[in-house]
């Protein structure tokens, strides 16, 4: 009998990580679903306030248009005034940057930072955590007083910016509260906190993000989302011509 109980315990212990991984995958799938507006267009205004030691706070404002079905996005810079009219356009795998001064498009990347802030283009676009990362481990923890699952993820592909990310997902409902991004060498580079969410047709969208640069102490950006909408957008919004016309 003792042997039987021992074997059962061992089997349970062996199965536990697999079960955790399964749960973690389900959580990741839910996080992906929340950020995916397939079948609809998404638009919002993001205001990013960046703080750097010894410098005045800088404000960047971008209007984001997304069509997740085709993995397209157009991003228009509204502030600062000096960069107004600059824009990014994603077509297939290419991201183009438009400069109204030179009236030229140049290659850019989804991994690029938005203006002079800590936020990256990829922070505002659809995520595919399940496709890009695999679960390396899951533990329990707290963010403040809130109990969370801490999911350790390793990149499946080299297309993503960060080789390792650690997600802190609320236990009582699938809501990302904190994300840590690590370099290939394993150093913590960036911590993002998600203190506020809004519900948009059954999906939870972070309406506020605080991005902390862990390499440069004191550098942080607070991003606020407003004017979010799921109204259909004209096709021309996702064209180079749109970025050119906006500046005329």
């Amino acid at each position: 009998m003792k042997r039987f109980i021992g074997a059962a315990l061992l089997a349970l212990l062996a199965a536990a990580p697999a079960a955790f991984a399964q749960d973690a995958r389900a959580m990741l799938a839910e996080l992906d679903r929340q950020g995916d507006f397939a079948g609809k267009d998404f638009a919002a205004l993001y205001t990013i306030v960046s703080q750097k030691p010894g410098e005045k706070d800088s404000v960047t404002q971008v209007r984001m248009f997304r069509r997740d079905d085709r993995e397209q996005f157009t991003m228009l810079v509204m502030l600062p005034e000096v960069n107004k009219g600059q824009g990014y356009l994603r077509e297939d795998d290419n991201v183009w940057f438009y400069d109204p001064t030179s009236r030229k498009f140049s290659f850019s990347s989804i991994k690029e930072n938005i203006q002079n802030s800590e936020a990256k283009n990829s922070d505002l676009t659809k995520r595919s955590i399940l496709d890009d990362y695999e679960v390396a481990g899951t533990t329990e923890g707290f963010v403040g007083k809130i109990a969370v699952w801490v999911i350790d993820l390793r990149a499946r592909t080299k297309d993503v910016s960060y080789e390792r990310i650690v997600l802190h997902v609320r236990k009582d409902r699938t809501m990302l509260l904190k994300q840590e991004d690590y370099s290939v060498s394993g150093r913590l580079m960036r911590t993002t906190l998600y203190p506020k969410y809004v519900e948009l047709e059954g999906r939870l969208m972070p309406s506020q993000m605080l991005i902390v640069d862990e390499l440069n102490p004191g550098e942080r950006s607070q991003m606020t989302m407003t004017e979010q909408s799921l109204a259909p957008l004209p096709d021309k919004v996702f064209t180079k011509a749109f970025l050119e016309q906006v500046n005329k």
């Binding site: 030691p53 795998d93 592909t157 080299k158 297309d159 060498s185 580079m189 440069n216």
Partner: protein, 439 residues
């Protein structure tokens, strides 16, 4: 003809003081212009040679590999075909170097700065120690895996000292974010505007940061016996590689406004599609082809100075020869009375001006050569901010013979133009009029 030339020469020697003063004015102008020409002549060669040492090669081969999702990675994984082609080319190769590099942000105690870091095998590249003198620290410290050498300017802007740990934020060849930690092993003397280009680390560590294996690298540098072999060696190596490996076409013209042949080559890479690795062969001359524009600007400046100086000198020559004509009016009358034609009188003045111009120009070139020799004796040291335009710390000059000949020709022509008017007036005098005119 000989008689007129002899008279012209005699006339020049009769008024030694005047001749010496006029000749000196011409010689001074020629000397200045020759010095600028000589500096411009050596400028591009010196810059190219110094950059060859810093970039470790006259001819370069880099690899572009198509990875997942048609992304291009800069890497050379197997260089057997490249080394075989270099050996078979018969090029006068001194040594072959292998380097990787990245553009990243150095971070130290709240200060950050973007720079390029070259990863070099410093046990092989011993010449770098001779070329890049250290103000602080020592090359021996480069034996530490994560050692780094920064220029004085970068070290000062970051406020780092030898031994400090510096963070570096960069992207791997696949575009992933990475962070490394360098220990400052040395600070090199500043090389002026090129200061930011000179950060060196160990190849192995740079490879580990950008995601390459220890035996991989990004650019092969082929150092030749001298800059003059560059184009021929590049052609020979390209010829040997052609057909054996995938190669980007050399010498492509770009209609998109690429400024240099190297930029055109880089743009070509973005337009083309291929599988596996494709190699790009380029030379130091192509990378630095904009230097030629600086040389052209220097030569143009020299030309403008030549013209301005000679317009001033021409006014003096015209006035002097008008005076000479008046002084010799009786002599002209006698010559004309003895049967010398108008053309002969004009020729005599023109010969005189020509001899003056040639004498002054030759003296000017000789003075410039002496000045060049003296200036080039000064050792400004490899720690000079202008070391990139010098040869081993010395200012050097090269005067293209054709340019010197062209300068002499221009001066001769301008002097003849300056004297044309007084010579014409002298020729027009009738013997009777000339003989009765009193000085």
């Amino acid at each position: 003809m000989n008689t007129l030339a002899n008279i012209a020469l005699r006339n020049l020697t009769r008024q030694k003081k005047r001749t010496v003063l006029l000749g000196s004015a011409i010689a001074f102008g020629v000397m200045i212009v020759t010095l600028i020409n000589g500096f411009a002549g050596a400028f591009s060669a010196n810059v190219a040679e110094n950059f060859s040492d810093l970039m470790a090669g006259h001819v370069f081969v880099s690899g572009s590999e198509k990875g997942e999702g048609d992304k291009t990675l800069s890497v050379i994984r197997d260089d057997s075909a490249l080394t075989a082609a270099v050996e078979a080319s018969g090029a006068p190769v001194r040594y072959v170097t292998r380097r990787s590099s990245f553009a990243g942000t150095l971070i130290f105690e709240g200060k950050k700065l973007q720079t390029n870091v070259d990863g070099a095998d410093l046990s092989q590249e011993t010449f770098l120690r001779d070329r890049l003198l250290l103000k602080e620290g020592s090359w021996d410290s480069m034996s530490d895996e994560n050692a780094l050498i920064l220029s004085e300017k970068i070290a000062s802007r970051l406020n780092v000292d030898v031994g400090d740990l510096i963070l570096v934020q960069l992207e791997t060849v696949t575009g992933q974010a990475n962070v490394g930690e360098f220990r400052l092993a040395g600070v090199s003397y500043d090389a002026g505007i090129f200061g930011q280009m000179m950060s060196y680390a160990n190849l192995g560590y740079v490879n580990s940061l950008i995601g390459l294996a220890p035996d991989e690298y990004q650019t092969m540098g082929i150092m030749l016996d001298g800059l003059k072999h560059t184009d021929a060696a590049a052609e020979a190596i390209y010829g040997r590689l052609y057909g054996g490996v995938q190669l980007f076409e050399r010498g492509v013209k770009d209609e998109d406004g690429a400024v240099t042949p190297f930029q055109a080559l880089m743009r070509q890479q973005k337009k083309e599609s291929w599988e596996g690795v494709k190699y790009r062969l380029f030379t130091i001359n192509e990378v630095l082809s904009q230097i030629e524009q600086i040389v052209a600007a220097l030569d143009t400046t020299a030309g403008v100075i030549l013209v301005v100086l000679f317009v001033i000198i021409m006014v003096g020559i015209t006035n002097t020869f008008s005076m000479v004509m008046f002084e010799r009016i009786g002599e002209i009358g006698t010559m004309r009375a003895l049967g010398v034609h108008r053309g002969g009188v004009r020729s005599m003045f023109l010969y005189e001006a020509l001899f003056l111009a040639l004498g002054g120009a030759v003296a000017g070139i000789a003075l410039a050569l002496v000045a060049m020799g003296v200036i080039s004796l000064f050792d400004f040291g490899m720690d000079s901010p202008a070391f990139i335009i010098m040869r081993n710390g010395h200012l050097s000059f090269f005067l293209p013979p054709l340019r010197a000949a062209a300068n002499v020709l221009i001066i001769a022509l301008l002097t003849l133009v300056a004297v044309a008017s007084p010579a014409g007036k002298a020729a027009k005098l009738t013997p009777a009029e000339a003989l009765r005119t009193q000085k």
